[in-house]
Chain length 400, copies 2
């Protein structure tokens, strides 16, 4: 039984590709646009599933590379699949592991990683945690990739078929085709060569997926770097394949969203959902939605939170800043999150200064609530046809 | 307005000092015997107050020394007191800071600390976290103690009066007189000298407490090391003072509970509650209750939990042990805690192996539930007059 679908409730028009819709999965619906919370290793860092649910998250995205290495996809299968294993009842995603294999291997140090500071491994945006990666590049050929585990240095081979088998074992509702991830610095020729391989792998991913007869939805991944011809070729090629939806991959900065993402979404079939992989800063969300993105995932809210960085409507604050030590107000007035309703800035500052784990928990709750709620407000603004007004107002205030 | 009281519902008899009762505070009742959960720095490590409440905890004990240094007792006062600051609605305790001042200072390295392994600072059982302590002993005289902060090395003076002022600012429901904490290795003469000072400080603590006119209950602290004459002298001396209850201090091992604790409780006035400071292993709880203790606090459940040590009725297990990697059962069958109802041993093993913070949270919930529930069962067994049977059965199974 397969039960996946996507319906569009409203298109904004007004020169944008923005739309509001609903993704249907076996584990419930996702109202889109939506921010998918990252739970890399089958846990949203520092939060219980109930906390994730209470802050408004609709779905969780885990990481194939990480779960394959630890605890192993077969254990997740034995445990009843990702949702049961981590006690999350709602819809789940896994990415294909492609990004991690390459960011942990061949492309390491060449700028594939979306993470600037080499922090702890999380989500679809990184996985770098050992210097051994420098000396153990992933080896890629048309068959697949051989890479070394960042945990114990053991050697592994990932192919489109293996990625699909692993993702079927993990059992998320929405899974992704295995792609080759390039460095944004790679020249056109190299991008083209890699893109052709990604397209061949897309075909193999689809074939394996059909063979496995799972209940899952498979999304194809569009690549092509910053080159318009490659992005459009990729959208045309992957767009006509029998995927349930699409991931837009690669390393983006916000300037690419109005170009690369727009080129792609202008071509991809309108009736299928599109996921922008690994982007989720406020500006990314507005630009992504404006240019036809339905779902996002990003480690920023939780990673930033663990470091004491907090979203407010007036921009980010660092709770470790001395001025918050005696501040008995909430992080943000009128914020509806658990943290703001029950704790002060002074208390959070105390937790971070004391290196208490609850600090990371409360900050992650606030940040995820902020971002999830922001995307939810964006959805409402599409339905009410005032998206561009919200965008202007929000960005003006947030970025000052 | 002061609203503190203690009523005894049932005395077990049968050659024991065990009793079941109720402590009444402004923030609610505590059914005794009770395990008081430790929230050293105004947070129960890795848990939200709701999680603490849901696992059955009735009250939280924070640490005067730690809160005085960071974030400062005046901020806690400004925030509305400990309960409001940390968002805990129920009854609260603070210890006097005496133990930490001495374990971080003069007595450091001489065995005052109840903690064997020098782990992270928590609760009433330690505070050692910096090697600078070795070179900066606390200086004690009849006036009070001068010590250096373990955080920044700054110099501070704590006296009975200051401790009470700080504890009034922090604003817990139950607070403790400032005492001098000795090393269990100290000879009789030194213990006696120190005990006399603790008794003079008890008088000064009481006087300052009356001057401050707070709504709090003040517990006097009985010391005396392992010497029967000193313990009994201390119980007689402190026992007749106008305290609302008593703390039994010092460094104990379980062998001392049937002696030192029994000597003390045979003398202390029956109608006032007694708190055994910093002890809480299963055997301690049974022996403590049998010998007249009403409340306990201990960092073991949370500290052990953060290291992957888990209580079961068949003894402790280490979840990081290889045999749990594929174990899809709960930590303990029929355990009613949130962790056991929703997660497997394999999932916990995965979280600990992946160094995911949720592991510490789930393990702390289970361990605290286990201990809180155990003391609650002990209470029920006193009411039902089958305490000794429960003790025999539990200890036989737990310690094998």
């Amino acid at each position: 039984m397969k039960k996946f679908g996507f319906s569009i409730a409203k298109k904004l028009g007004e020169g944008t590709l923005a739309r509001a819709g609903t993704i249907h999965t076996l584990h419930g619906d996702i109202q889109t646009p939506a921010f998918i919370v990252v739970g890399t290793k089958a846990t949203v860092k520092a939060l219980t599933p109930e906390q994730v649910s209470c802050l408004g998250a609709q779905a969780v995205l885990a990481n194939t590379y990480h779960l394959y290495l630890q605890p192993g996809d077969e254990l997740v299968w034995d445990a009843g699949g990702l949702g049961k294993f981590m006690h999350w009842d709602g819809p789940t995603f896994t990415d294909s592991g492609g990004f991690q294999v390459f960011s942990l291997g061949a492309a390491f140090g060449k700028g594939v990683s979306k993470v600037a500071k080499g922090e702890d491994a999380e989500g679809s945006g990184d996985g770098r945690s050992s210097s051994q990666n420098h000396s153990a590049p992933a080896k890629v050929d048309d068959g697949g990739v051989i890479f070394k585990s960042h945990i114990d240095g053991s050697s592994h081979r990932l192919t489109p078929e293996r990625s699909l088998q692993i993702q079927h074992n993990i059992g998320a509702d929405i899974i992704f085709a295995f792609d080759e991830c390039t460095s944004p610095q790679d020249p056109h020729e190299k991008q083209k060569h890699s893109l052709d391989r990604t397209h061949r792998w897309a075909v193999r991913s689809l074939e394996e997926h059909k063979k496995l007869r799972g209940t899952q939805a498979l999304f194809g991944v569009v690549q092509g770097g910053k080159f318009q011809d490659l992005r459009e070729e990729s959208a045309r090629t992957v767009g006509v394949m029998d995927f349930d939806g699409f991931g837009i991959g690669g390393s983006f900065i916000k300037e690419d969203i109005g170009t690369a993402v727009k080129w792609v979404n202008a071509i991809l079939p309108e009736e299928k959902p599109r996921h922008l992989l690994g982007m989720g800063e406020p500006i990314d969300l507005f630009l992504g939605v404006e240019n036809g993105v339905d779902t996002f995932d990003c480690v920023a809210p939780t990673r930033m939170g663990r470091n004491g960085g907090l979203y407010t409507n007036d921009g980010r604050i660092a709770i470790t800043n001395a001025k918050f030590v005696n501040d008995l107000g909430p992080i943000e007035k009128d914020c509806g999150c658990y943290t703001c309703k029950n704790f002060t800035r002074a208390y959070l500052a105390h937790l971070f200064r004391s290196e208490e784990m609850l600090g990371a928990t409360l900050a992650s709750i606030h940040n995820l609530y902020f971002i999830v709620r922001l995307v939810s407000r964006i959805r409402e603004s599409i339905m009410a046809k005032n998206f561009l007004q919200l965008k202007d107002e929000f960005l003006k205030r947030y970025y000052g």
